[in-house]
C-alpha cells in the first residue's frame, strides 16, 4: 500500500504493508533509529513519538493510520544545532543512564508540556508512565520541570 505522511517536516512516500507498525516503518524502512523498540505491546513507552502532536505508542500503531499526518520523532525535535528545551533540560540534568528508553520519555514530555506548560508533579505522575529499567525517574522529573522553565523563559524573551 502506498502511504504518504510528513516525517519531521519532510514528506515521505513509501510502499509498505498497511498493518506494519509505524515503529518498524520508521526504523527499518526510513532508517531513523532514534525511536526504540521495547515491549511491542504499547506498554513500556520506549517507542513513543508524536502523530499530529499527540503522543503515540508507535509499536502498536499501524502505518496506515499515519497517512496524511505529521509524524515527529526524537530526530525532529531540535532545530538544527539548537536543542529543543526538553533535550536541553535532559542534558543539563544528566538524565540518562543506559539511555535506551529516553527518546520515548522525551517525546511524551513534549506532549505533556504542550498541554501543561507548567506541570505539577501530579501531572507528571499521571502522564509520564513510560518504563525506565535504570530508574532515572527522579532525574526525569527534575528535567521536566527544567524544560518547562526553559520554555517559559524563551516565551518571555520572545514577547519582549
Amino acid at each position: 500500500m502506498l502511504i504518504t505522511f510528513r516525517l519531521n517536516g519532510i514528506p515521505r512516500r513509501m510502499d509498505v504493508d498497511e498493518s506494519m507498525s509505524l515503529l518498524w516503518v520508521i526504523r527499518d524502512v526510513l532508517d531513523l533509529k532514534g525511536t526504540k523498540f521495547g515491549c511491542g505491546k504499547a506498554a513500556c513507552g520506549a517507542c513513543t513519538l508524536l502523530v499530529d502532536g499527540q503522543a503515540v505508542r508507535s509499536c502498536s500503531y499501524p502505518v496506515k493510520l499515519a497517512a496524511g499526518k505529521e509524524v515527529t520523532t526524537i530526530e525532529g525535535l531540535s532545530d538544527g544545532e539548537i536543542l529543543h528545551p526538553v533535550q536541553q533540560a535532559w542534558v543539563e540534568e544528566v538524565v540518562p543512564q543506559c539511555g535506551y528508553c529516553q527518546p520515548g520519555f522525551m517525546m511524551a514530555t513534549v506532549a505533556l508540556l504542550d498541554q501543561h506548560p507548567q506541570p505539577t508533579d501530579d501531572d507528571i505522575d499521571k502522564s509520564i508512565v513510560n518504563i525506565c529499567r535504570c530508574g532515572t525517574y527522579y532525574r526525569m522529573r527534575r528535567a521536566i520541570h527544567r524544560a518547562a522553565e526553559i520554555m517559559s523563559q524563551s516565551e518571555k524573551r520572545n514577547n519582549l
Partner: protein, 212 residues
C-alpha cells in the same frame, strides 16, 4: 322496575367505562412502544403482557454487567481491564474528557481497530463512559435506572439509547474484542450480539420495564 332499570343503566355505564379504559391503555401502549414493536418483529401483544419485557431486560443485563461493558463504565477515575476487571495498568487515568490525560490519551495506545499483533484492543472513539454513566458495583435495577435517566445516560431518549446500544461501534466491539497481550481471544459477553440487539429492542418495545 324503576330500580331494575337503574341497575341496567349502571351496568351499561360500567361496560362503557371499561371499554374506554382498555382502549386508552391500548392506545398509550401502542403510542409508547409502536416504533420498537415494529422492530421487535418477534413480539405480539400477548407476549408483551406476559412479561416479555422482563425476559428481554434480564438478557440485556447479562451483557451490561459483563466485564466487556463494565470495564469502560467504572465508578472511579481509572479504566478497568482484563477478565478480572483490574485497574488499568500503568496508572492510566480517566482524564477531564474521559479520554485520558495530556501525554497518555486513550488513543496513545488504542486505535480505531484491534491490533492483534500487539494485543492492544481498539474501536472508534475508544474511551470511558462519563462518570455519571458508571455501572460498576450497581445492581441490574440500578443500571436500568441509570440508562433510562437522561441525566445519567447522556441526555438520550429511549430511541437514542436503543440506537447507542445496538449500533455504536464501541458498544458492538464487545463481540469483536480481539486477542489479549498473551495472544488469547478476549472473552465475549454471554449473549450473542444478534440476541442482545433483539433483546434491547424488545425491552424498549415493551415500555422499557425495570423488573425487581
Amino acid at each position: 322496575m324503576k330500580e331494575l332499570g337503574g341497575t341496567k343503566k349502571r351496568k351499561v355505564q360500567l361496560c362503557l367505562g371499561l371499554i374506554i379504559v382498555f382502549a386508552g391503555i391500548a392506545f398509550l401502549t401502542n403510542s409508547a412502544s409502536g416504533h420498537y414493536q415494529d422492530q421487535a418483529n418477534t413480539l405480539d401483544s400477548s407476549q408483551l403482557e406476559n412479561g416479555h419485557g422482563e425476559v428481554a431486560f434480564r438478557k440485556m443485563m447479562e451483557v451490561l454487567t459483563h466485564n466487556r461493558c463494565i470495564n469502560c463504565h467504572p465508578s472511579g477515575d481509572r479504566p478497568l481491564q482484563g477478565e478480572d476487571s483490574h485497574e488499568h495498568y500503568f496508572s492510566v487515568q480517566r482524564g477531564p474528557d474521559n479520554h485520558g490525560v495530556a501525554a497518555l490519551r486513550c488513543e496513545s495506545c488504542h486505535q480505531e481497530e484491534n491490533n492483534n499483533y500487539s494485543g492492544v484492543p481498539g474501536a472508534p472513539h475508544w474511551g470511558l463512559a462519563p462518570k455519571e454513566m458508571a455501572w460498576e458495583g450497581l445492581s441490574e435495577q440500578e443500571i436500568g435506572a441509570v440508562i433510562l435517566n437522561p441525566v445519567t445516560n447522556g441526555n438520550r431518549s429511549l430511541e437514542e439509547l436503543v440506537r447507542h446500544m445496538t449500533e455504536d461501534s464501541l458498544v458492538l466491539w464487545a463481540w469483536d474484542p480481539g486477542v489479549g497481550v498473551d495472544g488469547q481471544p478476549r472473552e465475549k459477553p454471554p449473549v450473542m450480539k444478534e440476541e442482545f440487539i433483539a433483546a434491547v429492542k424488545e425491552w424498549a418495545a415493551a415500555g422499557a420495564p425495570i423488573p425487581d
